[in-house]
């Protein structure tokens, strides 16, 4: 049985930042199942990381390396190629690797930083055969950028999530022909900047309100049938079109990877598919914290790093002294808001609290308001808000101390 103060599960940007922060005050062990640290970043060889924290556009590996170097200099115990199999509410962890075998680790506090996984073809029920040549976008990215193999040369991409958009460009740069990106929704699901930089700049067509209704090919993909969908998302048969291709890439969404969290019945948020957390990034189980994509899928790694540091700091603090929960303010997703993280504020004696959320519908000339009961305590104006773009607002100490009700509500309204 090994003992540590804080055990971090997952060595992506969230786990790295959380471990570093926690290590300022506590003994930390970091467990990562891959060979390399960095999570998804080593395969993200495009730039666009760190604009906020480093004020420059780094590539994924560069961004990760910054933290990996710091980890190497710290006294954090790092175990790679180590998969966590089980956790329990007493913060016992069971992990496995080829050197230590089955490890039992007793921690005072755990930080969950397992990231997310991709939705598959089955989850959206694409009919057809099951040939070779169907990959999720993240897997294709890894195959090309890390393993050095090419999944196909005539590509159709289903779904316009960011990874899919990035891969449309990546395939094009590799000499493949991307026939088009097909998105069932009437709007792209990735960031506008990615639609512009990855599709428009390369002349790759984006077909909105379209989906793939059949996959053809016995051994390898030979083509797909794409169909327009009506307002209720039902395919319109007359619009079917067959597109010959040898590869179908799916970018149809990411889901927080919460197998471990579910083992101990942490309260989950149906909307984020991640754990419900408070302002300290603590889950419903005291002493178990969560950060990064395991909580909700972030757009930008900078925000992952920032919130992970909050988790790291509070996990170390928890080891020293278990804080008393003084109150419970529910943060409510009001008009036109999909979800808000954190969902709960337990202690408002803080310098500030940042709330992250997504809107449900695109709105121009929007006004974001925060209500304490009926009283408006915060307002921020935005020229435009869109579902793919996460919004954050920061409530100041002054605002926080003035709160009177145990419910804080965010609305997004139209100014006109």
């Amino acid at each position: 049985m090994m003992k540590t103060d804080v055990t971090v599960i997952g060595g992506g940007p969230a786990g790295l930042a959380a471990a570093l922060k926690a290590a300022e005050k506590a003994d930390v062990m970091l467990l990562e199942r891959n060979k390399e640290l960095g999570g998804i970043l080593p395969q993200c060889i495009h730039d666009g990381f760190g604009n906020f924290i480093f004020k420059k556009m780094l590539t994924g590996p560069e961004y990760a390396q910054h933290y990996i170097d710091k980890i190497k200099k710290s006294n954090i115990k790092v175990k790679t190629e180590t998969t966590v199999l089980e956790i329990d509410t007493n913060k016992n962890i069971i992990a496995t690797n080829s050197i230590d075998g089955i490890m039992e680790i007793q921690a005072e506090s755990i930080i969950l930083a397992m990231g997310c996984r991709e939705r598959t073809r089955s989850q959206i029920l694409v009919p057809g055969t099951r040939p070779a040549g169907i990959y999720t976008a993240g897997t294709a990215q890894r195959l090309i950028n890390i393993d050095g193999v090419m999944p196909g040369e005539k590509i159709v991409i289903l779904g316009s999530g960011d990874v899919g958009l990035i891969m449309a460009r990546r395939f094009t740069l590799e000499g493949a022909k991307v026939e088009g990106v097909y998105e069932i929704m009437p709007r792209p699901s990735g960031l506008t900047r990615n639609v512009v930089q990855c599709l428009d700049d390369y002349g790759i067509p984006l077909h909105l309100s379209h989906t793939v209704t059949s996959i053809k090919g016995k051994k390898r993909v030979e083509g797909v049938t794409v169909t327009k969908v009506d307002e209720s998302m039902k395919p319109v048969k007359e619009t079917e079109m067959f597109i010959p291709c040898d590869c179908l890439i799916l970018a149809v969404g990411l889901i927080p990877e919460n197998e471990l969290s579910k083992q101990i019945n942490i309260i989950m948020d149906e909307r984020t598919k991640g754990a419900t957390v408070n302002e300290r990034m603590e889950t419903s189980v005291p002493g178990i914290f969560a950060c990064g994509n395991v909580v909700h899928v972030y757009d930008l790694v900078d925000d992952v790093t920032i919130t992970a540091e909050i988790a790291g700091k509070n996990a170390a603090q928890y080891v020293k002294e278990k804080p008393e929960t003084t109150e419970e303010i529910q943060v409510v997703a009001g008009d036109n808001i999909g979800y808000v993280v954190p969902q709960i504020i337990n202690n408002r004696d803080l310098d500030s609290v940042t709330l992250y959320f997504r809107v449900q519908r695109e709105k121009k000339d929007a006004s974001i308001v925060v209500l304490d009961g009926k009283k408006q305590v915060f307002e921020k104006k935005e020229r435009i808000v869109k579902p793919p773009e996460m919004i954050k607002i920061t409530l100041s100490k002054k605002t926080l101390t003035a709160l009177t009700k145990n419910e804080l509500r965010i609305d997004v309204r139209c100014r006109k």
Partner: protein
């Protein structure tokens, strides 16, 4: 009735149904149809009508219909590659069962399989239920062999060290069971609640199957998520589940241990006969001399029989699609359940919400005809049909948790029963054909029956005294306790390294599969043996890992790795390969 009488009857049908360009011939109670019809539906219609007639033992339906696919005859290799007492064509559950059964005797046996692995045909895509036989028509060969096969299943599974569970099954009736009949509800409810269960129980008694009638209230207690519309339930405790590919692989490996030669990637293209006797089997790899051939080629049995001049039936494939749900949904039911519906429609053959050997819930199978023996698509209609048929079985089932779906093809004959017999035309040629459901269950009994047919054909059977029925247990780390895992990893660290996160498969297990008796040399072959890639991420995480291990452990370059068969290359080449081509052109 003699052939002449049969022919008269059939000519009547043809006349009545206005088939104009069809000619009939009857020989040894087998009906041969030639001529033309105007659709595949008409081809089926006539075939099935004739197949249902009493005394008809087989229908060879050579009718032409528009867009009928023509197959080119494949060339064999002329070199002699072997000599055997018996050649088995096909390495599905049937061929493999027969191989193992034959390995008990002092014989030289060769099994030839065109795919790169055994269990690649219908045997890999079915519902894995070890049926009791209650669902089959009384008096059929299917039913007889199903009942018998089921009784043999546990012992064989034990010997081979493969999983088998008698997990039980509910046969239920609901308020919807007779909905199609449009009766007043008090009548249909009465029939569904009282009459149907009584008939089922009586049938069970005749077949010697244990079944217990359960009151609605009790049923709802034992299966709280079952539809509130349920009226009655019969519990059948001996209903079993297996893993069809592990079972088949184990059969084939055990047969090999006992001396059978298994030739993979070897397609039978012709069968040479002399004076109506089998002489040799021509394959893509060469010629094997043999006096006895067992035709266990599944969907292709009619074509194999044709090669020998022993065509005595035609196969018309019936597709069945299945949905598999995430293990998160496992606890929704405690036992498999199937809802009875009357009248039986073309598209509903029963099936239900069933558990797999790994505990996942599956819905299926559907049923639909297809002219294409390779048509394993799952169409939008198939998916809709599954939701329509099986969703009413359970309340609030988390239907979104589908992790995969597939379809398989039943090798049906027009007489809709197994055809297990020696050819009347060619001596030494034995059919194990028309093995539709419940062929998996019946496999052990089919194997026994085939052996006795061979004996009648004149094959001398002398038992070996060193036959070893046992297979060693394969290591499955997820089934071990932490203590057992620790010990194992100390001996071989590869069992500590997880390569498939969803199913927790270790590198050691993948390496074992690659180097097993029948080596797993494709991603799907490894998946079938280890479950890597079968979980909810469907290989998104483990595929790159498995590809790498496969390349390391064999001499296959990484970019040449296959999903399953030749041509199913996962990659088109190394990264940058397309750019290099472009530079070359310039």
């Amino acid at each position: 009735m003699n052939d002449k009488g049969i022919r008269k009857n059939i000519e009547k049908i043809i006349l009545k149904k206005k088939f104009e360009n069809v000619a009939v011939k009857v020989e040894n109670k087998v009906v041969y149809l030639t001529g033309k019809v105007n659709s595949y539906d008409a081809f089926l219609d006539l075939g099935l009508r004739i197949g249902k007639k009493k005394n008809v033992e087989g229908v060879v339906n050579n009718l032409e219909y528009p867009n009928k696919e023509r197959k080119e005859k494949k060339k064999g290799s002329a070199s002699k590659i072997g000599k055997a007492d018996v050649v088995i064509v096909g390495g599905g559950v049937i061929g493999s069962s027969i191989a193992r059964e034959l390995s008990k005797y002092k014989l030289r046996v060769i099994l030839v399989e065109k795919a790169s692995d055994v269990a690649c045909g219908t045997t890999k895509a079915n519902n894995a239920m070890v049926h009791t036989g209650i669902g089959e028509n009384m008096g059929t060969l299917k039913q007889k062999l199903c009942v018998k096969g089921q009784q043999m299943f546990e012992k064989i599974s034990d010997e081979l060290n493969v999983p088998y569970k008698q997990n039980g099954m509910w046969i239920i009736t609901t308020k919807d069971s007779l909905a199609k009949m449009k009766l007043p509800s008090f009548i249909s409810d009465f029939i569904a609640k009282r009459i149907i269960p009584m008939i089922v129980l009586r049938r069970g008694k005749k077949l010697g199957i244990t079944m217990n009638l359960t009151k609605r209230r009790e049923l709802l207690k034992r299966e709280p998520n079952i539809t509130k519309k349920v009226l009655a339930g019969i519990y059948s405790p001996t209903y079993g589940i297996t893993c069809p590919y592990l079972f088949t692989i184990a059969l084939a490996e055990n047969a090999m241990e006992n001396g059978v030669e298994v030739m993979l990637n070897t397609e039978v293209v012709d069968i040479v006969t002399k004076e109506s006797k089998v002489e040799s089997v021509v394959t893509t790899k060469g010629i094997i001399d043999a006096n006895f051939v067992i035709n266990a080629a599944g969907l292709y049995t009619d074509e194999i029989a044709g090669m020998a001049g022993a065509r005595e039936y035609t196969i018309h494939p019936k597709k069945g699609a299945t949905l598999i749900f995430d293990k998160k949904a496992n606890e929704y039911i405690n036992h498999s359940m199937s809802m009875l519906r009357f009248p039986r429609t073309k598209h509903y053959k029963g099936g239900g919400a069933m558990t797999t050997i790994d505990g996942n819930i599956q819905w299926g199978p559907t049923i639909s005809e297809t002219p294409d023996k390779e048509d394993t698509t799952v169409t939008t209609e198939d998916i809709e049909k599954m939701f329509e048929s099986y969703s009413p079985l359970l309340e609030d089932f988390p239907e979104k948790l589908v992790i995969t779906y597939f379809s398989g093809l039943r090798a049906c004959t027009f007489t809709e029963d197994f055809i297990i017999k020696s050819s009347k035309k060619i001596k030494g040629f034995v059919h194990a054909a028309g093995i539709q459901s419940p062929g998996l269950t019946a496999a052990p009994a089919i194997a026994e029956m085939t052996i006795s047919l061979l004996k009648n054909e004149g094959l001398k059977l002398e038992a070996k005294n060193n036959f070893d029925p046992y297979n060693k247990k394969k290591i499955v780390t997820r089934d071990l306790s932490n203590e057992e895992k620790k010990k194992l990893i100390e001996k071989n660290p590869q069992y500590g390294e997880i390569v498939c996160r969803c199913e927790q498969v270790t590198k050691g297990e993948v390496v074992d599969a690659i180097h097993s008796k029948i080596p797993a040399l494709s991603i799907d072959a490894i998946k079938r043996r280890t479950r890597a890639g079968m979980g909810r991420c469907q290989g998104g995480f483990c595929l790159p890992n498995i590809v790498k291990i496969l390349a390391q452990e064999t001499d296959i370059p990484i970019e040449k790795i296959l999903k399953n068969e030749g041509g199913s290359d996962l990659f088109i080449g190394r990264a940058k390969c397309l750019l290099e081509d472009k530079y070359d052109e310039n």
